[in-house]
């Protein structure tokens, strides 16, 4: 099946070439970071995690959201999603790969990365995150590849695949829960110290991940003969509507406890994020995120704008951007400001950091393009 990646029209080849160039640029700047250290990024003593960890957090959510199509199809035999589960699984593969790469490029001593395996530390959440992310990646590789192979051979998928699929469902929930636990167990950082974090992460993931999946399906419909089908897209849009509403509700619940509870060390971070006095880059993007969330909410809740593809696309793009900000820089950076010693430092990613980030995204997009191309080609061949 892999040979299908090599065949394609001019636009396809140009797109793949563009991604390869972006990867190369990212690689060049990563070599620079390898040689000079993480000092070439905008991170510092006070804000010690930045753009890399922000993207990691967002992408784990995208990976987990594959469960939105996998669960209804396999547990409830919801046939409408039958044609697109494979794309959900392939999206998860790309997203987990990207999140692992983002952790890797964030390491100060990347050559020692295997110390995590050599000196296993079960009391560290990062250790468990490594385990669940890798397990989830392997499962999705096996499940995705084997079901597609079966489809190509026009036979039923092997029975041993079923238990693996069932295992992948709770694992999807657990990758995002464990990722939330990285933050929500730290007494030092009141901004993250909330039991609501894992549910909030899941809600926003189940909005943003499927939104990305629909956009990808629409792109595929434009460039290939594969059509996910109106019904599938509308059902996913409905799921996104619920997830986004729950996400918004959770956010307001969090704000209530923080501001009505009024404990200064909790309030300070939120004031810094939204209020006057915060770093403009962060404050402005946090407000944009909030406005986009509200716009998307109204476009999705209204059945007319949700059912019209023209407006639905805008709602989906708004969801993706809003959650990327909210769960990315708007989540990681304010956790560090003010610092434990009251310091109000600022953070802006450097050019090198941005180019490395783009390089990692290009790797992910390359994987998505290649895998989606294979799956779409297999389905095209079958319909002929």
């Amino acid at each position: 099946m892999i040979e299908k990646v090599l065949k394609g029209g001019l636009i396809y080849r140009a797109w793949m070439a563009l991604l390869l160039v972006m990867i190369l640029i990212g690689l060049i700047f990563y070599v620079r970071q390898w040689n000079l250290g993480l000092g070439i990024t905008g991170m510092g003593r006070d804000v010690s995690w930045g753009l890399y960890i922000a993207n990691f957090t967002f992408l784990v959510g995208v990976a987990a959201s594959a469960v939105i199509v996998v669960l209804p199809y396999y547990l409830h035999d919801f046939k409408v999603f039958g044609r697109i589960t494979i794309f959900g699984e392939f999206l998860a593969i790309a997203a987990v790969t990207m999140s692992t790469l983002f952790i890797f490029v964030d390491l100060g001593q990347p050559a020692r990365v295997f110390n995590i395996v050599l000196y296993p530390s079960p009391q560290s959440v990062l250790f468990w995150d490594m385990i669940v992310l890798n397990l989830y990646l392997i499962l999705n590789l096996i499940i995705g590849w084997r079901t597609l192979e079966a489809e190509r051979q026009e036979e039923a998928p092997p029975t041993w695949l079923k238990p693996l699929i069932f295992l992948s469902i709770p694992l999807a929930i657990s990758i995002h829960t464990v990722t939330a636990f990285i933050y929500s167990g730290l007494g030092a950082r009141p901004f993250w110290l909330t039991a609501l974090l894992a549910p909030r992460f899941l809600a926003s993931a189940f909005a943003s991940g499927p939104a990305l999946l629909i956009i990808l399906c629409l792109i595929m419909r434009r460039f290939t003969k594969f059509d996910a089908g109106q019904e599938a897209i509308q059902k996913i849009a409905l799921i996104i509507t619920y997830a986004l509403s729950i996400h918004l509700f959770f956010f307001l619940v969090e704000l209530f406890t923080v501001f009505y509870g009024g404990i200064p060390e909790h309030v300070h971070h939120f004031q810094y994020l939204f209020g006057p006095g915060g770093q403009p880059l962060l404050t402005v993007s946090a407000r944009i995120s909030l406005i986009l969330t509200c716009i998307a909410f109204f476009l999705l809740v209204n059945p007319r704008t949700r059912k019209a593809e023209g407006t639905l696309i805008y709602a989906l793009l708004a969801v993706i951007i809003a959650v990327w900000i909210e769960k990315g820089l708007g989540f990681v950076v304010p956790g560090f400001i003010p610092s434990p010693l009251g310091e109000i430092s600022s953070y802006s990613p450097t050019i090198s950091e941005i180019l490395i980030t783009k390089g990692v995204w290009a790797v992910g997009l390359l994987i998505i393009t290649a895998l989606f191309k294979i799956a779409a080609s297999v389905k095209e061949d079958l319909s002929q």
Binding site: L36, G37, L38, G39, M43, G44, R45, D46, S48, W49, I103, D106, L107, G108, Q109, P110, R112, V113, N115, I116, L118, Y119, S121, P122, Q123, S124, V125, L126, F127, M130, I182, Y183, G185, L186, G187, A188, R189, P264, E265, G335, F336, S339, P340, L341, G342, E343, S345
Partner: protein, 254 residues
């Protein structure tokens, strides 16, 4: 007791013991286990009054940063600090300062790694590169650290610094007898583990001319630190977090 109940209890105790200890391991509670009698538990007492009586004094900071090859960066982003001062208001943020004069609020207070009995940094480290010794010292293995900086996120005291760049060109007065660090690893105060091994006091304590720093064994009832803590009111930074810091601040004689 009925035979059934006995079996139930027996089963639960057999299954429960390892389960309990595994749970303690997971939440990091096992870190705080007490050492055997007669073993030391090192702590430091900082006399705020004696310390601020010498404004501008930097002896302890200079001594520490000099013997440990701590680099000097001009950029606060890259800064590496083992022991330094911060305004009183920021060191003890949970107090109210409405009625304190600006001078009091800005009073520089000495801060360093608290060598917590229940260290969050050790709990989160994915490679055990930072670990707690039986004598209470929270240590760093610079050769094992992968530079993920999870410990920096977990430390409630901002005690940890990361080598954003190769520190060697920025070391003033390089010392042969102490290892330098490489880029990409975290470092912090070690309570002068290398000096304790030789029976010496930490460098900052030795360098202090104000008599503000006292170092000793908490498990020794006659030690200087125990006497000070018995007689003078003391506070610890963010004690409400349950980290059990072993740097104590005493503020006034009764």
């Amino acid at each position: 007791m009925k035979r059934r109940d006995f079996l139930k209890i027996a089963c639960f105790s057999v299954a429960g013991l390892p389960a309990r200890s595994a749970f303690d391991q997971l939440i990091g509670k096992a870190l705080a286990k007490q050492p055997g009698v007669g073993k030391p538990k090192w702590a430091m007492v900082i006399d705020i009054k004696a310390c601020v009586a010498k404004p501008g004094c930097q002896h302890c900071i200079d001594a520490c940063h000099n013997i440990h090859n701590v680099p000097t960066f001009n950029n606060p982003k890259d800064e590496i600090k083992w022991i330094w001062t911060n305004p009183y208001k920021e060191v003890f943020p949970e107090q109210t300062y409405q009625f304190s004069s600006v001078e009091v609020q800005k009073q520089p207070i000495l801060v360093l790694c608290n060598h917590c009995e229940n260290p969050p940094c050790v709990k989160v480290c994915p490679t055990k590169a930072t670990f707690k010794r039986d004598d209470g010292l929270v240590m760093m293995d610079y050769h094992r650290c992968i530079g993920c900086r999870y410990c920096m996120a977990a430390c409630p005291y901002g005690a940890r610094s990361f080598n954003w760049k190769d520190p060697r060109p920025f070391i003033k007065g390089f010392r042969q007898d102490f290892p330098t660090r490489t880029k990409g690893v975290v470092e912090k105060c070690s309570f002068c583990e290398e000096r304790l091994a030789k029976g010496l006091k930490p460098a900052c304590v030795e360098a202090c001319t104000a008599g503000a720093l006292t170092f000793g064994d908490l498990n020794e009832p006659d030690s200087q630190v125990r006497k000070l803590l018995a007689l003078r009111p003391s506070v610890r930074r963010k004690a409400h977090l349950g980290t059990e810091p072993k740097v104590f601040y005493i503020y006034e004689a009764l």
